[in-house]
Structures are given as C-alpha cells and as structure tokens.
Symmetry: C2
Subunit: 152 residues, 2 copies
DNA sequence: CAACGTATGTCAGACTTCTGACATGAGTCA
DNA sequence: TGACTCATGTCAGAAGTCTGACATACGTTG
C-alpha cells in the first residue's frame, strides 16, 4: 500500500509496523469512543479501575502509559463529573485509592463494548495460534526494551 | 510485573499489549533521540524523506501517523532551520515536494544509528522466524482494522 | 533518632498534536 | 465549458500531554 516509489524497507521494519499498528488501533478506538464523549486515556482509566479497584493516580498513569501529571488532570475531571471517587485522606502514605462510581461503571459498560468490538475486528483473520504467537512476540519486545543492562 | 492484585486479563489483551509495546518503543526512541534534540515525529519525517525524496507534507504526515496540520508545523520549522527544502511553487497541483538538505542528511545519520540500535535491542531474543511471524501478525491486524466492510 | 532516597499528589507553564475552517489546484462528468 | 468532488497547504484555536518543580509520606540506614 502507500506508494511504492523507491521500495523502502519501512514495510519490513518491526518498529515501524508496530507504530503503524498502534496508530491504526488508536484511531479505531477514538472513532468508537468519540460518540461516547470519551478519549482513549479516559477509557483506559475507567477500565483499569473496573478491573483493579483502588488503584492510585500514579498506578493508573503507569497502566495507561501516560505521566502521573496527565492522569491527575484526567482524574480530577472524572472526580468532578462523578465518575470516580477518591477519599479526602490517604489511608496510607500519600496514595489515594480511586474507585468507580455507579455512574462511572455505567459509562464504562458502553465504552467497553465498543472497544471490545474493535479488538475483535482487529483479531479477525487470525487463528488462536497466531494470536498466541503475537502475544509472545509483543511480550518479548517489551521485555527486551525494558530490560535495561545491555550496553550495546 | 505490575501488581497481580486481581489477575486481570489486561495481560492477555493483544490491544493492550500492542499499546504497551508501542509506548515502550516510543519511550526508548525518545531517550536516544533527546540528546540529539530530536523528537520521534521529527526523526520520522527525516527518515521518510531520506528514503522517499520528494514526499509532500500530506504524504509525510500519513507516513509518520500524524495529521497534515501537525506535520506542517514541524516541516516549517525544519525548513526554517535548514534541514529540508521545499520549492516556493508547486510543480503540479498544490503538493510541495520536500527534500533533505546536506545538513538534514547529517542530522539524520546520527539519529538513524541511534534508532537502529533501539530496534536491534527490541529484537534481541527473537529468532528470524519469530520476527517474520510478528511481522505477519502486525500486518494482519493493520489490514483488519483498516479494511472496513465487515459488519461485526 | 536523624538523614537519606524513593514514591506520591499536585500546581504551573510549555510543547505537541488535534479539530475546524478556508482557499487553491486537479480530475471527472454532464 | 461549468459544476462537482477530492486532495492539498495553511491558519487559528482548543485539547491533551509533557517537563519542571515543590511539599509530603514512607522505608532504610547510619
């Protein structure tokens, strides 16, 4: 696809393809989330809270792959609009455990269904085995990039 | 990794893992690009121009997975700083073919080497066959998400 | 106990990217 | 030829995210 002007190796670079896949996935998610008035990070935050109630702002940030400052802005809005609640006082340390409100849970349900449909569409045409392979490949790449050491 | 509080299926979601891998890759690239005073999009633009000279602003935007408005901002800066050149008049239509200047090419060389090392690190621990599989998987996901049609 | 390093929440400012909008140039078709 | 559609470049404003900075809370270590 695209132009085949010079026959570049961009199409054979795993890094480039990873970026492309991520971009396409993000766009597809934004498309289904926009009608619900939700961004991807917004949805990620809610989904994380549904699956792991009590996560702190910093933990949510790591789970959604943004800085804690960005997540803090979002979390304050979500709290103001009644989607999540946080105690005024930290039970321990400074971390404030966040939880979904019933309203947040309802909002998430629609979003979750929409996002699931996107993932289903993405996986169409792949066998179970291929999906398992892809899972292992991605995990390997993540581990290699994170696992520091290695001067190289 | 992370907490194993509830045993979530986030670790088995290809979509989530794709986002994670992309995030880690981006962070790794930013790390090596920052000392060179370059962002990922900045580098992407230069790399695209090196491999496909004469790409227009819109084409560069598509290749770097940003909007043409964003690429336009970047391209104007790169032009102002002497990394790329564009004719004042469009040879055909409105599209202005961009090209690297010698300075742009020099700047790219260092960045390209740095990015290559990141990709090498990412692929460490994967066999040729596994890389080929990953390539096919990512292409399949991209095609499925892009290829509309298909109701559910 | 005191000092240190680490992690957290939060505020402020800057940067990047996005959406919306407009005008221009090329191709298509009646 | 004229109308329509599409792609492009560009400007302007809005939104999201980032970096930098500060104060606070915990654990460790002397």
């Amino acid at each position: 696809m695209s132009q085949s002007g010079t026959g570049i190796d961009l199409d054979t670079s795993l890094g480039y393809l990873l970026k492309e896949a991520s971009s396409v996935l993000r766009t597809a998610m934004e498309e289904v989330l926009r009608p619900l008035g939700m961004t991807v990070t917004h949805y990620s935050c809610l989904e994380l809270l549904a699956q792991r109630p009590g996560l702190s702002n910093s933990e949510l940030a790591r789970g959604a792959f943004v800085t804690r400052q960005s997540m803090n802005v979002l979390l304050q809005n979500l709290e103001r609009d009644g989607y999540v609640t946080r105690p005024a006082q930290a039970p321990v340390g400074k971390a404030l455990p966040a939880r979904l409100t019933p309203r947040g849970r309802r909002s998430l349900e629609r979003a979750s269904a929409a996002v699931r449909s996107v993932e289903v569409r993405m996986l169409a045409g792949m066998t179970e085995a291929e999906q398992a392979d892809a899972l292992r490949s991605l995990r390997s790449m993540i581990r290699s990039l994170r696992g520091d050491a290695v001067g190289a």
